[in-house]
């Protein structure tokens, strides 16, 4: 959009009712392209605010129309404020994950080498994922807990895939403040419930990755995954 058109529309707006104008202009822009419309709107609004302030000044000189002046002294700064907030957004949003980080990576994991009672850790989207091949005793332990004893009640069946109950797949991050719980390697302490123990502030997880004791509010997350064969899963 050329500079002249911009000036002309700004001048037109200054002469007409503000809300109507904004709606019309943004409608036109929206039918074209949303992003550009937004940036333009910011510009319009700032210019708009300026005109209103000028008009307010003029009005205060000839003192003819008090209520109109009052409205304008309010409207000017208000438009400035709205414009300002909208102009701020790109500077806030730039801190959010960029396109590269957003790209959903999925990984395939071969489960065949993991023996009963062992666990491995794989990286998925920058986070560790715990995969444990549970023993029968561990599964029993997880199933036999009554839900009332759990701070974040969830039956073991909800946290595993049917027919693959021995496999427990969890995002290995403590839901308290994000440390990595101990319990993956055989020599680790596994906490009071034989699952995992977070050393940071003492959260205990059970053999289903559920929080049992300590400051963590939730069970460890279960990432989205499927079995693509009996010994292979796809996470993500």
């Amino acid at each position: 959009m050329s500079f002249r058109v911009l000036l002309m529309s700004a001048f037109a707006m200054y002469r007409t009712e503000p809300v109507v104008c904004v709606i019309i202009i943004s409608y036109i822009e929206l039918t074209n392209q949303f992003l550009r419309a937004r940036s333009m709107l910011v510009l319009y609004l700032s210019i708009y605010g300026n005109f209103y302030r000028m008009e307010a000044l003029l009005a205060s000189q000839d003192n003819e129309d008090l209520t109109r002046r009052d409205f304008m002294t309010l409207a000017g700064p208000a438009f400035f404020a709205v414009g300002g907030v909208m102009a701020l957004w790109p500077f806030i949003d730039q801190m959010n994950p960029d396109a590269g980080a957003l790209a959903l990576a999925s990984i395939e994991v071969d489960l065949a080498p993991i023996a009963k009672g062992q666990a491995i850790t794989v990286m998925w989207r920058g986070k560790p994922v715990f995969i444990r091949n549970r023993t029968l005793a561990e599964i029993e332990e997880a199933k036999n807990v009554s839900l009332e004893d759990l701070p974040d009640p969830a039956p073991d069946e909800e946290r595993t895939k049917k027919g693959h109950e021995n496999w427990l797949v969890n995002v290995g991050i403590c839901t308290h403040l994000g440390c990595i719980p101990k319990g993956q390697s055989l020599s680790d302490t596994k906490g009071d419930y034989n699952g995992w123990f977070c050393p940071c502030h003492g959260s205990h997880y059970d053999t289903s990755g559920r929080i049992r004791k300590g400051p963590a509010p939730r069970n460890m997350d279960v990432p989205p995954y499927q079995f693509i064969s009996d010994t292979k899963i796809k996470i993500g």
Binding site: R125, C179, I180
Partner: protein, 379 residues
């Protein structure tokens, strides 16, 4: 501000010429030479000058470090090691910066406790006090951001745990906390992206502090200094000019402080740090004991003490924020604790708890209890 005689006499034509156009030297002279200071200030009043010295030291050494430091997840750790080993005098400058942060906090804690003891937060010094609290907050942010930069294990896990504090907001509005955390990280975990932005902010904040300090000193020079008795100076002749009297005293205290500072820098540069920070950051292994820098320990202990996630976070932040309201929580008309025997008791109990919280990190329920008890006894 113009409560005292102006003795500035520009000598020489150049300084006269400047004085007529920008009387900055006159301003400085008025504020830092002629300025009337109470006669009875004790050594607790020297920490303001010491803090100024600390800030300048951090900025100067920091700028030098920034010339050699690389804010990248794969290179940050090595670049700090290179500063310590290869860069000419890098070992000295890095060590001054790292130890300097601790010295800064020692000084600021003493300065704050001085204010609490002598009632320096009371009218007409509330704004002065609040600016001080803001400086303290900005310092904590700067110290925290700086500690991430060496990108060792403690750096990495410290960032993870502290930024995750915001996720407790999920308990109020689901999703709010985690989106803030993602926003801070710029990803779904702490990464090099996080490190890069923390470096930028660590560079910025000290200059914000500098601005706040200017306002703090301005406010101080409007209301004038408090003194150990808490009884205001009636006329300006009650005081003595800042220079040479207060300046010499400040300098003497500064020399003692710098000797202590230097001892740490030259003999035990790593004493105040944590050995685990010599292990490069590893997102897969959390160190067995996560501890923040010593100057955050009292607050961290409060966090750990409270079994609920949100409750702990709220208690920790309110322990800091409550400082802002102290001028209004304390309704006693008597300023100095010298003349408040009951409050004196609580003051020392409070000081003791803070240290106990820091050292033991174990009995914090008692700590916040005493803290609140103290606040309530103000009434």
């Amino acid at each position: 501000m113009k409560a005292h005689n102006d003795t500035y006499l520009p000598s020489g034509s150049i300084s006269k010429w400047i004085d007529e156009r920008l009387p900055i030297m006159r301003l400085m002279h008025g504020q830092f030479v002629d300025f009337p200071t109470p006669r009875n200030l004790n050594y607790m009043w020297t920490f303001g000058g010491i803090l100024m010295f600390c800030l300048v030291t951090q900025i100067v050494t920091g700028i030098v470090l920034a010339m050699h430091y690389v804010p990248h997840a794969d290179m940050a750790f090595d670049s700090v090691q290179r500063i310590k080993r290869d860069v000419n005098y890098g070992w000295l400058i890095q060590s001054i910066h790292a130890v300097g942060a601790s010295m800064f906090f020692i000084a600021v804690y003493l300065h704050i406790f001085r204010g609490l003891y002598y009632g320096s937060y009371k009218a007409p010094r509330e704004v002065l006090w609040i600016l001080g609290v803001l400086i303290f907050l900005a310092m904590m942010a700067t110290g925290f951001l700086g500690y991430t930069l060496p990108w060792g294990q403690m750096s990495f896990w410290g960032v993870t745990v502290i930024t995750n504090l915001f996720s407790s907001l999920d308990e109020i509005v689901p999703g709010l906390g985690s989106s803030i955390v993602t926003w801070l990280w710029g990803g779904y975990s702490v990464t090099g992206t996080t490190l890069n932005r923390f470096f930028s902010l660590h560079f910025l904040l000290p200059f914000v502090i500098f601005g706040l300090v200017a306002l703090h000193v301005w406010a101080l020079h409007v209301s004038g200094q408090n003194n150990p008795t808490g009884v205001e100076m009636k006329v300006k002749s009650d005081g003595v000019p800042m220079s040479p009297f207060a300046v010499m005293k400040d300098l003497f205290a500064l020399v003692i402080f710098v000797i202590m500072f230097a001892w740490f820098v030259f003999f035990v540069p790593d004493y105040l740090g944590h050995a685990d920070n010599y292990i490069p950051a590893n997102p897969l292994v959390t160190p067995a004991h996560i501890v923040p820098e010593w100057y955050f320990l009292p607050f961290y202990a409060i966090l750990r003490a409270i079994p609920s996630k949100l409750g702990g976070v709220i208690a920790m932040f309110s322990a800091i924020i409550v400082l802002v309201f102290i001028p209004w929580l304390d309704t006693s008309r008597v300023r100095s604790t010298k003349y408040r025997p009951l409050y004196r008791w609580f003051f020392w109990l409070f000081a003791f708890t803070c240290i106990a919280l820091g050292y033991l990190g174990a009995m914090p329920a008692e700590g916040s209890y005493v803290f609140w008890a103290r606040v309530f006894t103000f009434y």
